[in-house]
């Protein structure tokens, strides 16, 4: 699941060399919007999902428009702070409208655990990685098989040349932001029944997803997928065999180790120039 959110960092990084640091808050927004439409308004789930994804696409586009583009055009790194600011605003808006309480998000997959031998799991927990991998596959297909995806890839490859070929670069960047927010939103909807919905739920997920993106290599989608799975495994093994209290220490310690050994990430390309 970290992988799905982390992929969002990769998508915007490769098109524009910028990142949306409010990815974690987009996860939260996905869960909160889905809660509002599905639970509070009682709409059918497919419709609620559609509304959520549309709202998240708008959120992503908005982040790009107000927090990235003004700085991107001036080659200023202030987008970094600006996207964090948008995230904090989103969290506070959620607190004002949704309230600060954690709320339960019902899912038919959370009713009864599936028992295997003496231990069991909830179907929802299985759905999360399966849906995650499926979506990552879809994103790859979109990039390699559809004309629009190819345009985005072209921008990532060489913005100047792509611009000369008539590709609208600002629009491509905006699209990449919308896409990355949608991915985070899906993650939010998938996680909601497991984590409960609250305005604070996204912060730590966003941070860990960023760690995953760095470990995997910002420029490498497969690297991020592998790192996402690996990070999740390391976390649960640490919790299972050492202690829950050591989980964050081991997890983030690993990030530092990887950065020392391979500053460009496990499968990332070694940059030929400093960025």
């Amino acid at each position: 699941m970290y992988g799905l959110v982390a992929l969002g960092y990769h998508i915007t990084w490769s098109t524009s060399r910028t990142m949306n640091f409010s990815q974690g808050h987009a996860v939260m927004a996905g869960a909160v919007v889905a809660y509002a439409v599905f639970v509070a308004l009682g709409w059918p789930f497919p419709l609620a999902l559609l509304v959520t994804l549309a709202a998240l696409a708008c959120f992503g586009a908005l982040v790009e428009r107000v927090a990235v583009r003004p700085f991107f055009l001036r080659a200023s790194p202030a987008w970094l702070l600006a996207t964090i600011a948008v995230g904090i605003i989103a969290e506070n808006v959620a607190q004002l409208t949704f309230g600060k309480d954690a709320r339960a998000f019902p899912s038919p997959l959370m009713q009864k655990p599936i028992m295997v031998g003496s231990a069991g799991f909830y179907a929802q927990e299985l759905l999360v990685p399966v849906a995650g991998l499926l979506l990552m596959g879809l994103v790859q297909l979109f990039y390699h098989r559809t004309p629009y995806g190819k345009q985005l890839k072209a921008v990532a490859w060489n913005p100047e040349a792509a611009g000369l070929m008539g590709i609208n670069i600002p629009r491509a960047v905006m699209a990449s932001y919308a896409l990355s927010a949608v991915l985070a939103g899906v993650a939010g909807v998938l996680l909601a029944p497991l984590l409960n919905v609250s305005p604070q739920m996204g912060t730590i997920i966003g941070l860990k997803a960023f760690a995953v993106a760095i470990i995997g290599g910002l420029t490498s989608a497969p690297g991020i997928v592998v790192a996402g799975l690996g990070y999740g495994l390391v976390e649960s093994f640490t919790a299972g065999y050492i202690s829950t209290r050591a989980r964050e220490i081991v997890g983030f310690g690993l990030v530092i180790l990887v950065l020392v050994a391979r500053p460009w990430g496990l499968l990332g390309e070694k940059p030929s120039r400093r960025v």
């Binding site: 600060k100 309480d101 497991l194 409960n196 209290r245």
Partner: protein
């Protein structure tokens, strides 16, 4: 003519400003502060405390208030369960709002952070929920911190006695939140189980907002625990139950009262059925005069139909009795001066026939907890409501 009226206006104004304060002083309301989480996962606890305070305040004001006619007035601040925020609020309540005493909410972390502030600003604090042992046993002299609520040390004695004597369990596994509150209970449970010659088979901890408690539960299960003793608030308590169902481990579970504070029933559904936990008071069963009165007001003002609808009942009960005790102390002190009210609380002369019990000299220099394990009751979640356990 014009000059005359101008002079009159000035005279009137002077008369107003000089007479104003003197008049206001005698009838100025006595402010009582509340620093509690009225939002977040534990919001129900703050709301319950507020209700208890308001019911008592209305009752006292209807009888003429305190200090010969001054009305009580409640000032509520949301500490969000955040210790830093708690300290800021403590100062604001005393320095800006000039409250005579402050009531506290659910979080031991907040209560502990505020202790030095009460001492420094010489303002009495009345705990209505947070049970950390060293909130009241804080080493300060004179001690400004009082409590009408549970104290972890007594709770742990009570829980261990219940586990061994009533449930006949001998292999408890402790599952605690990784906070000062959890720590406070680890000390107490180890001590009181130890008195009975029992050692916990495992001690596991979790952090706030942890989504999955399976690893901890699995370790307790493998260690052979026949009973889980839980110290958690509602959000984490809910995750514990989910993980427990996932492991298919149907061992008995008893809990400190944190799980009665939030949306525990909503978060867990029918998983919460059968979880036994402790309270200082229950609105079920035969009620004394106070109990009938409080339930009546809850029915009229807060749409409570039956005892099971009372949200976070201990908050309301503790705060209600605490408010009456503070009012008695203010009257005995004859002033709202913090040091004098503190002294009066420690040497309260009036007997107060309260909701939870009859208080005869509830506090002394050594004892700042009005309630002990003599006063606790055991209850159980059933169909999303809290019902009493029939215990001998």
């Amino acid at each position: 003519m014009r000059r005359l009226s101008a002079m009159l206006t000035i005279l009137l104004a002077v008369a107003w400003t000089t007479a104003g304060p003197a008049l206001a002083q005698s009838k100025e309301p006595v402010k009582i502060g509340l620093s509690a989480a009225v939002s977040g996962g534990s919001a129900a606890s703050g709301e319950a405390i507020k209700r208890g305070l308001l019911i008592a305040i209305d009752e006292i004001n209807a009888k003429g208030g305190v200090l010969g006619g001054r009305k009580l007035e409640l000032v509520v601040r949301d500490d969000e369960g955040n210790p830093q925020k708690g300290v800021t609020i403590a100062r604001e309540l005393v320095e800006r709002e000039k409250v005579a005493a402050v009531f506290g909410g659910l979080h031991t972390t907040v209560a502990l952070a505020q202790v030095p502030v009460w001492h420094e600003l010489k303002t009495p604090y009345m705990g209505a929920w947070a049970a950390g042992t060293n909130v009241t046993r804080n080493g300060q002299t004179p001690n400004y911190v009082f409590r009408v609520s549970a104290n972890d040390d007594y709770v742990d004695r009570y829980l261990s006695r219940y586990a061994v004597d009533a449930l006949k369990k001998g292999k408890p596994g402790l599952l605690l939140e990784n906070t000062p509150w959890g720590q406070s209970n680890e000390t107490g449970l180890t001590k009181w189980f130890g008195e009975k010659g029992i050692k916990a088979v495992g001690v596991e901890r979790f952090n706030w907002n942890d989504p999955d408690m399976s690893p901890q539960l699995l370790r307790l299960k493998n260690a052979g625990a026949d009973l889980i003793v839980l110290v958690a608030n509602a959000p984490e308590g809910a995750q514990v139950l989910r993980s427990k169902a996932k492991l298919g481990w149907d061992t008995a579970m008893i809990s400190h009262w944190g799980i009665s504070g939030g949306r525990f029933a909503e978060l867990t559904g029918d998983l919460s059925d059968g979880v036994v936990f402790l309270q200082t008071y229950t609105f079920f069963g035969k009620q004394n005069e106070r109990g009938q009165y409080v339930l009546k007001v809850l029915r009229e003002k807060y749409a409570v139909k039956e005892p099971g609808d009372v949200i976070a009942p201990v908050g309301t009960a503790n705060a209600y009795d605490g408010m009456h005790l503070v009012a008695l102390a203010i009257d005995q002190a004859g002033s709202t001066d913090g040091a004098k009210v503190r002294d009066a609380l420690e040497s309260l002369r009036a007997e107060y026939k309260g909701l939870i019990k009859t208080y005869k000299r509830p506090f002394t220099a050594e004892q700042h907890d009005a309630l002990t394990d003599e006063d606790y009751v055991m209850v159980v979640w059933k169909g999303g409501k809290i019902v009493p356990v029939n215990m001998k």
